[in-house]
């Protein structure tokens, strides 16, 4: 039973030039306890999707259609039909979000303890002592010393420590879904490693489901069970992590995989994707990846291709040329795309 089911979700931004179709017909399920990574370059719609899931989108955004169904086994509802008060409770208690810039996620003029207390009170956690006990427990879980952290102001902590505090705060109300937007992007390598290991540990202990939004494929490689590739607001491929890394079937997924160099193993043939993403106000005719795609044929201009099953029933790609992509990659072995295409 999925904890979150998204159906045909479309989100537009109103601009003077016309509506920007940032998210188009997005459908996916998030199972209990699983980790789903959403990848794509900037402008692919991944952040609009993430903030749209908890209805935190800016005023200029409008959900034009779709459904976001939450079901934790005890309660089930459509997030899009919640009134203001129930939405406020849904955010953080059922579904928490960890933002990228950990400094601006905190109020700079109050201590960390006051931030925890505020959050606890706003969600009716009870008296100070309950919030305090839970906070200490969570700070232990994220390997921080409560004595040092709770009396500190945000600027007094390092980037890695702030990110840990933010993760602890996201878990304050024991949510079933945690959305992480570029959780390690601004951090140094050793800190990044520590946060990745921490997320893996917490997920194992607390069993929440995770949606990762990242342009960094290596975080997905580390933590994801399943992955979604987004391009021009649509899901263009959906697969488990091994299939997406080693046997991608959408040319855009192949392009992304090939654009990232590695430190270990053979370098292989590393190449950027030519061109740039389309204008989301005036989408090109047919497949929106057509102008950048090395596999395109005339027929690709006829329609924006729907997701169809490829290889296995759990692997879908929105590409009529997926067999040509498979043939170009050759082997189905567990080896990176850049090596197969070298």
């Amino acid at each position: 039973m999925p904890v979150l089911s998204v159906r045909d979700l479309s989100i537009e931004y109103r601009t003077r030039r016309g509506p920007v179709q940032a998210v188009r017909d997005v459908t996916f399920d998030l199972e209990q306890g699983e980790t789903l990574a959403v990848i794509g370059e900037s402008g692919s719609g991944k952040t609009t999707l993430a903030v749209g899931l908890i209805r935190l989108s800016p005023r200029s955004a409008r959900v034009t259609k779709g459904e976001i169904r939450y079901d934790d086994g005890k309660r089930a509802f459509d997030v899009l039909s919640l009134d203001a008060e129930r939405l406020r409770r849904f955010r953080w208690a059922d579904c928490a979000m960890v933002f990228q810039a950990a400094l601006s996620a905190f109020n700079p003029v109050i201590t960390m303890w006051e931030q925890f207390l505020d959050t606890g009170r706003a969600h009716g956690m009870g008296d100070k002592h309950t919030v305090h006990d839970r906070t200490r427990e969570l700070l232990d879980l994220v390997h921080l010393d409560p004595k040092r952290v709770l009396t500190a102001y945000p600027h007094e902590l390092s980037g890695g420590m702030r990110q840990r505090v933010l993760i602890a705060m996201a878990l304050l109300l024991d949510p079933r879904v945690v959305i992480l937007d570029e959780p390690t992007t601004a951090l140094d390598i050793l800190t990044q490693r520590a946060i990745i290991d921490l997320l893996r540990e917490l997920r194992g202990r607390l069993g929440f489901a995770t949606i990762f939004i990242s342009h960094d494929l290596s975080i997905a490689a580390e933590l994801a069970d399943r992955m979604i590739t987004m391009y021009a607001g649509r899901i263009v491929e959906r697969a488990n992590v091994e299939d997406l890394f080693y046997r991608p079937r959408h040319p855009y997924s192949v392009g992304l995989m090939r654009a990232v160099p590695r430190v270990s193993g053979a370098l292989g043939s590393v190449v950027s994707i030519p061109g740039s993403p389309p204008d989301l106000i005036r989408l090109p005719r047919g497949c929106s990846y057509y102008p950048r795609c090395p596999f395109h044929v005339e027929q690709c201009l006829e329609q924006d291709p729907p997701l169809i099953p490829v290889d296995t029933p759990d692997h879908e790609a929105a590409c009529i040329r997926w067999e040509a992509v498979a043939a170009a990659l050759g082997s189905d072995a567990e080896a990176p795309v850049a090596e197969k295409l070298a």
Binding site: I189, L190, R193, G265
Partner: protein, 336 residues
């Protein structure tokens, strides 16, 4: 290697802050030949940007010398100094901040051409067209009248590179030049910078925190790893990434998440003794890495500052233990 074109000779840079004096860069020596590619890598606060600024002659070292073609740059005056200024150009990290938003690409490029008397009028236009072609902005005529806001991040960074090329530099220092552009186009920018070295004999220094980017860019060159103001390892790229000699580089490479689930989930880790990076205000005695180092030996590493020593295979490492054992730290820590 060709004789050095530009050289940092034991440079240090200190800053006085209300909390005390900090040494951002401590006794760094680096010597670069013509058309060489080199990456300076390290985490934030390691001094890589300060080193880059000293190399570009933008920041005067507190001690030590910057040599260009063997002569001390900070002794240069007049025309001689102007010649150095033209020879070494910097490409900044943020293409949104480094281009004047009120100037078209043509204005941005023609100003240095005119100022340095390289080309005027029609000749300037021809020079700009050829520069834009060289940085892959084609057709060039489409870009001349564009303002920065009409360009993507990658295109802006190409304009920055074209601007650096207006004065035919011998050295380009690129500070995190690709970290703000999308993953999908980073490689093409790195290729562009790489071609400057191989085709136009420009020595290219890339400063980055990303070791995968460093490995790709300097695949035929070298990498210098910095930690708390010092170069801890300097070697050819492939041996450095496959078999790092310094325990810090070893820990860094072992910690990097890789875009390959099988490799990244089975990587051998190096456990460090501490997670906290010491403050520059209060550096530990001896080797600055010793409080975190799994190889550190009491009485040696916490007392004597290690200098770069040689290991077989032409690599230099500032580690007492690796140099004594004549083995890279990756070997000694069993993570090869």
């Amino acid at each position: 290697m060709t004789p050095p074109l530009i050289e940092l000779d034991g440079v240090s840079r200190t800053y006085t802050t209300p909390a005390g004096t900090i040494t951002a860069v401590d006794d760094v020596s680096l010597s670069l030949g013509e058309s060489e590619t080199i990456c300076i890598v390290g985490e934030s606060g390691c001094g890589k940007t300060t080193t880059g600024r000293m190399l570009a002659g933008l920041l005067r070292p507190s001690s030590g010398r910057l040599l260009f073609e063997g002569a001390d740059v900070w002794e240069k005056k007049g025309r001689d100094l102007a010649r150095f200024r033209r020879a070494v150009q910097l490409v900044h990290q943020d293409p949104y901040a480094s281009l004047n938003p009120t100037r078209t690409v043509a204005q941005t490029l023609s100003a240095p051409l005119a100022k340095h008397n390289k080309a005027h009028g029609r000749a300037a236009r021809a020079a700009m067209i050829s520069l834009l072609e060289r940085v892959g902005l084609t057709p060039p005529a489409d870009f001349l009248l564009k303002y920065p806001h009409q360009l993507s991040g990658g295109q802006r960074q190409r304009v920055s590179i074209a601007r650096a090329l207006t004065v035919d530099p011998r050295v380009i220092v690129a500070d995190e030049a690709v970290s703000m552009v999308d993953v999908s186009i980073r490689i093409s920018l790195l290729d562009l910078l790489h071609n400057l070295a191989t085709e136009f004999h420009v020595t290219t220094v890339l400063i980055t925190h990303d070791l995968a980017v460093a490995r790709y860019f300097a695949r035929k060159g070298r990498i210098a790893v910095m930690y708390l103001g010092r170069v801890v390892e300097l070697a050819d790229t492939e041996p450095l990434v496959s078999d790092p000699a310094h325990p810090y580089s070893t820990a860094l490479i072992a910690a990097i998440p890789e875009a390959d689930p099988a490799i990244t989930r089975s990587k051998k880790r190096v456990s460090l003794k501490g997670a906290e990076v010491p403050s520059l205000l209060n550096l530990p005695p001896g080797c600055v890495f010793h409080p975190r180092c799994p190889l550190s030996e009491p009485g040696l590493c916490d007392v004597v500052v290690p200098v770069l020593g040689d290991l077989p295979g032409g690599r230099s490492v500032a580690c007492h233990v690796a140099v004594r054992e004549r083995q890279p730290a990756a070997e000694l820590l069993g993570v090869r």
